[in-house]
Every structure is written in structure tokens, then in C-alpha cells.
Amino acid sequence: MHALHQVLHAFFNPHSFTLALPDVWAGFQVNLRMMFIAEALVLVFALFVAIVRGLPGRGAKPLRVLAIAYTDFFRGTPIILVTFIVGFGLPGLQIGFISSRSFTVYGIVALTLVYTAYVSEVFRAGIESVHPSQRSAARSLGLSYAQAMRYVVVPQAVRRVIPPLLNDFVGLQKDTALVSVIGVAEAASLSQQFSTQNGDFASYVVAAVFFILITIPLARFTDHLVAEREMRERAQAF
């Protein structure tokens, strides 16, 4: 009984909740901004990397190798290391523009670098899943390689990969807290500050609830898309 009471007091003190809420909410807006910017950048860059990786011909080989090296490197390196490299390394270089950004920007850069690598693999799988005859059909209409990609292959690929893509975005959203170790004042770090001052842990719970509140709808939406697709595919099978 005593233990339960202690837990309730340490994590779920209503008074602390009310006190922590404004600070943590202010911090969470930083998380939101980071995730939106990073997600937009990731979508663009990841598609670019995926397309480069699929370029045909011997001439494009160096580009393909570069794209592979990029994905291998950033998928293989723990995101916390990438964050340190970017967040402490770039300022250390003392190159004007690059070295004088805020920690929030470095956090966004780290997230974008890493998730571009993940998401480009998702896009690549999507592009490869489009039946080759679709490409033949497009090319034989006289569409150029780029046009065939743009109007026929990529639109189909993107539709197919939306569920795994959203899964990666759930990860990205949570990792906004991780990349903030370099000193971004966002929900997790502000709740830690608050916790130290206040002597309990209610602020962590508040921050957790914020994250959960935005990932749950995304997860359910993903489930919905998957279920819908399965139904459509089953309908087509008959």
C-alpha cells in the first residue's frame, strides 16, 4: 500500500502536473517543429537517394555507389553518435554559417541524415515492387526515363510504402527527444529540469503523454491503411 502511494506521489501528483504542464508544453512545441521540418526534408531527400540508387547504366555507377555508401553509413551509425558528430563537430569546425546554428537546427540535421537513410530504403523497396512491365509500358509510350519514374513508377511506389513510411516517422518523432541531448530545450530535457527542481517525476509523465498523443493516431492511421490495402487485395484476388 505504501509503495503504491509512493509511486502515485512521485509520478502522478496532480499538483506537479499542473505546474509542469506549461513548461513541458512549451518544450514539446520544439519537438513538433523539429519533427515536421525533419519529416518534410526526409521525404524529399529519401526519395532522391532512392532514385539515385536505382539509376540505370554504367555511367551512373559512381552515383549509385555514393547513395549506397550514404545509406550504409547512416543506417549503421547509432543516431546518438550522428547527433554528437553534427551537434558538437560542426560548431567545432568554425566555418561561419555551418558552425553557428542553434542546437535545434543540429538536431534536425542529425534526424534528417539518419532517417533519410532509413526512408530511402523504404522508397527503394517501393520502387522495386512496381512491376517492370509498368516501366516498359510507360517507356514504350515514348515517356523518357525521368517521365516514366515521375508519372508511373514513383506514384505507385509511394502509395505502397505509406504504412512503413509512417512507422519510420513514429520513430523519428520519438527521436526528437534523443537528438536533444546536445542541448535543445524540448519536452524531455525541460521535464528533466522540472523534475530536478520539483523533486518528483510528474513532468516526465506529462512529456510522455504528449508523445503518445501524437504517435497513437499515426499508428492507428497506419493500421487502417494496411487493413484497407489487404481488403482491396483480397477483393482483387477474387
Binding site: H131, S133, A137, R139, L143, Q147, Y151, Q156, R159
Partner: protein, 258 residues
């Protein structure tokens, strides 16, 4: 009529000169020679794996040829100077399956070529597409997605999508093979219409009756080479090669028992 043939002297509209092709170790085409004049309908028949599809794919450069040359409309495909997209504008091809773009409506499928390749306006492309769909009686389906159409309807849309490019040559690769028997005739009817307006066509087909009816020339492919070619009457009633005879006997038997 100023045909390519008369302009270029000896040249036919399509000249296939000693074409061979390998996939790795496997030789799929073996020294193919074939001339196709404007308004001719050539049917390619032959067993599965004899190289019909590969030959058609070589004609619009979906496959590269290793030796020999193909000349279309006076232009050699092997010089390296050929503009692939220009060439493909002249050549429509319809495949056995997976033809239409599933993320586009029927209308958008037909409009895509005119709009993006011919560079016509949206209005012009749309009117071309509507007109073609009207002609095949599918205007009501213009705004449906392909998966809502029957196989026969899809294949007819695929044909008019190619026609929307106003091609000078149509390549049809077993366009009825994936269809239920009762859907075959509506597609063949459309092709028949094309022969009546003088479309130049090369048709790979298993429909022997149809080949006999529309072909000006029938080529029997066997193991990657044209073993026998001639007028349909001759090929179907009086083939000179034993292998042609046995192939036809097999196919006609299968048709009877089906």
C-alpha cells in the same frame, strides 16, 4: 501515296536484318530477317519461348540486339544516334498483361502519352482520349480505375492508349492470352478494325483463326528463327516445314479439345 518504301527506294517500313539476341548463354533470336511494308499485318506464331515477345521488344528498343540491324522508317536502331523516345512515339505496343497504369483513371491512362510525349494541351489530350474511348464504347468508364474494368475492357483501353500516340506501327504481343475466352472476341474485333483502316501491325498470337483472317503474312518462329513465312493460306493449309505442320497440328488439336 508516298510510302516510305517508295521514298527510300528499296526500304520497307520495317526491315529486320539478321538479328540475333542472347540472354546470357541462351540464344533467343537467331538470324531473323523480316520486312514489313506499310499497311501490312504480319502475324508471328510459334511455340512458347520461340522468341516472339523478344522480337517485338527489340523492335521498340525495350531489348538491345547484339548482332544484325533493325531499320524502322528509314532509321537504323543500332547506330547509337537513334532517339529512342522519338522512335517509340511511332510504335505502339500492347502487352499480354499488366498494361494499364493502376493509379490513373482510364481517361488519364489514355491522355498521358498525348499530354506528356506529344506535348498537347490538357484539353486536346482529353478530347483525343474521350474520342477514342467513345469509339470503343467505353466512354462511360472514362473516370473508373482500371481494376474496375474487365480484362477485355482493360486490353481495349490499352490498345487505344497506344493509338492516342497516333503510331505508324502497332506491335501486339499476345494481347488475348490472359483473357477469359468470352472476352477475346471484343478485343479481336477492335484489332480487326485497325486492319481495316490500314494500320501496319506485327502481331504475336496464339489465335490461329484470327491470324489466318487478318494477316498479310504469317511467320512461324521456332527456336528463335523464322522457320517458315508466307501467306496465311499457304502456312495454314500447306506448310512446307515438318515442324510448322506439327506445331499447327498441336495447336489446332488443343483448340478442338478446349
Amino acid at each position: 501515296m508516298t510510302d516510305i518504301a517508295s521514298r527510300n527506294g528499296a526500304g520497307s517500313f520495317v526491315e529486320i536484318r539478321g538479328v540475333s539476341k542472347w540472354f546470357g548463354e541462351l540464344q533467343v533470336l537467331d538470324d531473323i530477317h523480316l520486312n514489313v511494308e506499310k499497311h501490312e499485318v504480319v502475324c508471328l506464331i510459334g511455340a512458347s519461348g520461340s522468341g516472339k515477345s523478344t522480337l517485338l521488344r527489340c523492335l521498340n528498343m525495350l531489348e538491345r540486339i547484339e548482332t544484325g540491324d533493325i531499320v524502322v522508317d528509314g532509321q537504323s536502331l543500332t547506330t547509337g544516334k537513334v532517339n529512342v523516345n522519338e522512335l517509340r512515339r511511332k510504335i505502339g505496343i500492347v502487352f499480354q498483361a499488366y498494361n494499364l497504369f493502376p493509379h490513373m483513371t482510364v481517361l488519364q491512362n489514355v491522355m498521358l502519352g498525348p499530354r506528356k510525349v506529344r506535348g498537347l494541351s490538357k484539353e486536346q489530350s482529353e478530347s483525343i482520349a474521350h474520342d477514342l474511348l467513345h469509339r470503343i464504347g467505353l466512354e462511360a468508364k472514362a473516370h473508373e480505375y482500371p481494376d474496375r474494368l474487365s480484362g477485355g475492357q482493360q486490353q481495349r483501353v490499352a490498345i487505344v492508349r497506344a493509338l492516342a500516340m497516333e503510331p505508324e506501327l502497332m506491335l501486339l504481343d499476345e494481347i488475348t492470352s490472359a483473357l477469359d475466352p468470352q472476352l477475346v472476341s471484343e478485343v479481336l474485333q477492335l484489332v480487326r478494325g485497325l486492319t481495316e483502316v490500314g494500320m501496319t501491325m506485327i502481331i504475336a498470337t496464339h489465335e490461329m483463326g484470327f491470324a489466318r483472317e487478318v494477316a498479310s503474312k504469317v511467320c512461324f518462329l521456332d527456336g528463335g528463327s523464322i522457320l517458315e513465312e508466307g501467306a496465311p493460306e499457304q502456312i495454314f493449309t500447306n506448310p512446307t516445314q515438318a515442324r510448322t505442320r506439327s506445331f499447327l497440328a498441336r495447336v489446332l488439336d488443343a483448340e478442338k479439345s478446349a
